[in-house]
């Protein structure tokens, strides 16, 4: 199996525990370059850095009330750089939500559960 090449990854989530864990997990085997943003706006401002993958939380305004939600950010990302790979991350175990994000251009949809980290790492390897 070919070793995965290091990629530039943006993680957008306002839960510090999640971003820490995700960064921890993703940098363990491959030296991915992970940048964490607490809000979608911050991520948008840095799109010029051309990330290979963006891992985007669906529900982004639980802490920062005025922040835009993941769906809006997803649309903005897709508008600005249509070719970027977006993995949508959510605790919403609702298929309708998943459908909507996929329709709006997300590549993958991952539910935050015990297997989420593993799934994301696998997806990034395959890209």
């Amino acid at each position: 199996m070919p070793a995965s090449t290091p990629k530039k990854i943006f993680v957008v989530d306002d839960d510090p525990m999640l971003t820490l864990a995700l960064e921890d997990y993703l940098t363990r085997k491959v030296a991915h370059q992970v940048t964490v943003f607490e809000t979608g706006e911050a991520c948008l401002n840095n799109l010029a850095a051309k990330p290979d993958v963006i891992i985007l939380d669906y529900y982004l305004n639980s802490v920062h009330k005025e922040a835009a939600n993941g769906m809006e950010i997803l649309q903005a990302i897709k508008k600005e750089s249509p070719d970027s790979h977006v993995i949508m991350l959510s605790s919403q175990e609702r298929y309708g939500v998943a459908m909507q994000t996929l329709i709006k251009g997300a590549e993958q949809y991952v539910i935050k559960d015990e297997t989420a980290f593993e799934k994301i790492a696998g997806m990034i390897d395959e890209m």
Partner: protein, 1057 residues
Amino acid sequence: MLACSTLLYAILAFYYLSRVKRKTIHQYLVILLALSQLYSISAQTSLKPLPKPFLSVNESDILQLLTDARTSEDTMYYLLAQIDNLGGPEMHAFLLDNLTHFLAINARTLIYNDEPLRLYKEAIDLWEKGERLQSIALQKRAVNAYDKQHRVFGPNSIFPCIRLHYNELNLPEERLAYYKEKLVYYQNYGPIENTADCYHAFGGYYLLKADYNLAISHYLKAASIFKTYNADGYANAHSVVGWTYYRWGNYDKSKYYLESGLALSKKTGNYSNVQLCYIFLGLIAKQDKQYSESMKLLDTALTLIVMPRDIDVYTLLLAEKGGLLLIENKPEEALPILNRAIELRESEDLPLANYQGDFEGYFYLYQYFVMQKDWTKAEQILLMTYDKAGTSKSNRQILKLNKELAIFYNAQSKNIQALPYALAYITLSDSLRNIENTFNVSQYEEQQEAISNEVQVLGLEQEKKLQRNYFAGGGLMLLLLSAGIYSRLQYVRRVTKQLAEQNIQIEKAKLHAEQSERFKQEFLANMSHEIRTPMNAVMGMTSLLMDKKPRHDQVAYLTGIQKSSDTLLHIINDILDLSKVEAGKIDLEAIDFAIRQEMKQVKQLLDHKAIEKGIQLILHIDHNVPDVVIGDPVRLNQVLINLAGNAIKFTEKGSVTIEVGMGQGAGGKVQGVVGSSQPAVGNQQSEVEGVEFAPPENTQLLFKVSDTGIGIPKDKLDRVFESFSQAHSSDNRKFGGTGLGLSISKQLVELMGGTIAVESEEGSGTTFSFEIEYPIGSAAKLLETKSHDQMDGSMLNGLKILVVDDNEFNRTVARDTLLSKCDVEIIEAIHGQEAIDLLKEQDFDVILMDVQMPVMDGFEATRQIRETFPAPKNKTQIIALTASVVRSDLDKCRAAGMDDYVAKPFKAMQLLATIAKASGREIRHLENPASAEMPGKIGLAELSEIPIKPVTDLTYLEKFCEGDTSRMNKYISMFLDTAPGLTEQITQALAQENYEEIAGQIHAYKTKWIMMGMTDAKDLALVIEQACRESGDTISIRKNVDSLLALIQTAVSELKV
């Protein structure tokens, strides 16, 4: 004059009322007329005539009626008389509420004297509160109550509604079992008409299992019974037969029954049936490729959507309409409709999709993406739909999806991915067909045909690929594989079938075991609570009477009551104990205690029993035994009392000896290696603890209890530790007791790290022995242990105490107990609201608060005091008086803001000590004296300390961090750092009733629950979040938030260690 005539009517009404017992509901009408006369005369209004009965009642009619129901009592009479024939469960709840309101004005007792109605109303209330299993249990009781009146159930009455409720809970097997039981009942005792609903329920079960043949035969049987007396049931049965045939694929028969069902349902005014018939007729037209006809039928059905609860049907309709548009090659029009269907479906949390509207919606959306050639999305959606179908347990859906996935992957040349689905499809369709054709002979040909079709499908798809010269090798491989499948089919089929059968057996056994375990736990919790409440009054009042200088003969009776209630409490504790030990829910204490003292107490306690029987009780303590050790004195006491108590019970002459000496492992003196190898009385934990090599600190003690009693026969020796077994079968009666003592002792000893052994010779005596390793303790720490047994109540003098309890006997006990021991002022309230009103006017030092009370319970009252009262009243000390000993309830007490609690039944000293502590008048006692109250003390001490199962589980975190502790600590401290903030924000949001905020806060915590292994918190958080977003019941949100905060609190203390 008016008063006089009103009185006359009242007498008349009560005369009628006294005669209504066990009469049918229609006779209420007569009574109600009398009442209404009473009401109208006293209100000086004229009597309105009863409205004419409606020919067909449907829900919109009822809604119309109910809008002015509160003013028109005549309407209510009519509805009351018709209650069995109206609406669904929601309508019943609404109706019953209105009736209750109305009757509150007239004669509140009426509905509550009618047992079935009362039970039914309670059941619906429970259902709405989300306590659904309890609700079903209550509904069943209501049905039994109706059965006593020998009633025939109408459409939409409680009996058929249980079926729907089970559906919502997705419990098909339980539902089947219930209706089977009732079928036997009605066949034996009648009314025979009620068997129709049973057959109908069976039909539903087999439909779910895709056993269409059996489903239809049961529905038709129901129909033949309904035909004579229940037009709606008859129409319903025909409609259901129609759509079962549709599922089965027999469209001719389906059409016949659907048309019949449609006509019948139109007559009875059952519009949801009419609508469903239209939908399925539309689907049949689609099968016949008459697309415009199909669209017309579906549109007709769409116009019939009236009630919001038809959402399930509505989504099916939208999905099917979207599907039709796809067929007509109008994907742009189809997409928004499909999206709407899915959105609607997602916005409703319907546990079981009766008509699979969601499933079809997703499926068509998949087809949409296929049409758009967006393979990635098509694949994702198909896989998601597959997951969803897996949870809905519908074989038909899983079958269809397996086939679709196989075809899809094959078309994508992903043969390896296609293979498992193809295999699954073939085996599943095979087993389904086996079920379906249990009563059909011509299954073989069909099967063969289907199998070769399947192979052809795979092959054809492959040919296309070959033409495109694309992955030709893969194609060849697939053909080979297909051939392989074909030849191995017989084998696979046989093995799968066997496996499936085994799995069913295992599942059944597992379910059964889980169920009975759950029932046991529930039963124990309930029993303990139910018995404790009256026991508190019995024990409390007895001891109050004892203090009132009773006559000599009265003392004898009172002592009898006291002893009997002590025994009763002891038995309850035994049963509770065993269940806790078995569930691994006992936590041991590790405190310094004077072991010699402790042993003397055991002897003192049992002395009178030995004297009564005329035998000697000897205590022997080896001089090498240290004075103070660290361990759990209560549990050690409990084991010794059990063993010695038992010994006394079974000894008629001679003696019972309790001994403690040095065990074999540690030897007499302090030694280097502790208990590393002992064969006979093996100490399982010693090896583990031996690793610590802490030589001067451990001691191995050997305890022995021997008697000269009847002994235990050899063949029974190995069974003495089993629950519910005494050596001689007649012993139970002769020696009394629950027979649980030895079983508990064995498990407690094992919990303390020892093994219990028994030696016995029949006729000459028995010896029980066990070894336990204790760290040696320090005498200094002993002084910190205090006891309140010798407290004098005077320290409480001058306090003003509010006693809040709805049970007057328990109020009396609390009041008189306090007044007899100290000089305090007592005010009483009968529920939380009254307590709050009193607190507004006066100040109290301490409030003793019962938990479960009508009007306002203790939790709510405490919360209000803490949150809405100005300082310093909001800081009034509140002590819960609770009969519940369930940990979660005690946690709730704390979460609600109570300062302490006393478990009922309580001993006087315990109550005094808790009040003293709360009011800051505590006095520290420096000794740990023996007490005559030992048995009660043991029971109560441990009851109020039901140990908790840890709420955190770091297994996942450990795996995630690959065992790296510094990493783990990083996550743990992150959790610990944020927890107080979360608690504060949630509490604040709760006070402001900002549910959106609560949902947001809780939502952001999901990863934390996962990392800390807080499964309960995770589940609870989900419930709260959903309730907050859907503006659910605020009381239950509060309740759940409290529990969540308690969980976080516990987690913090667990993780801080």
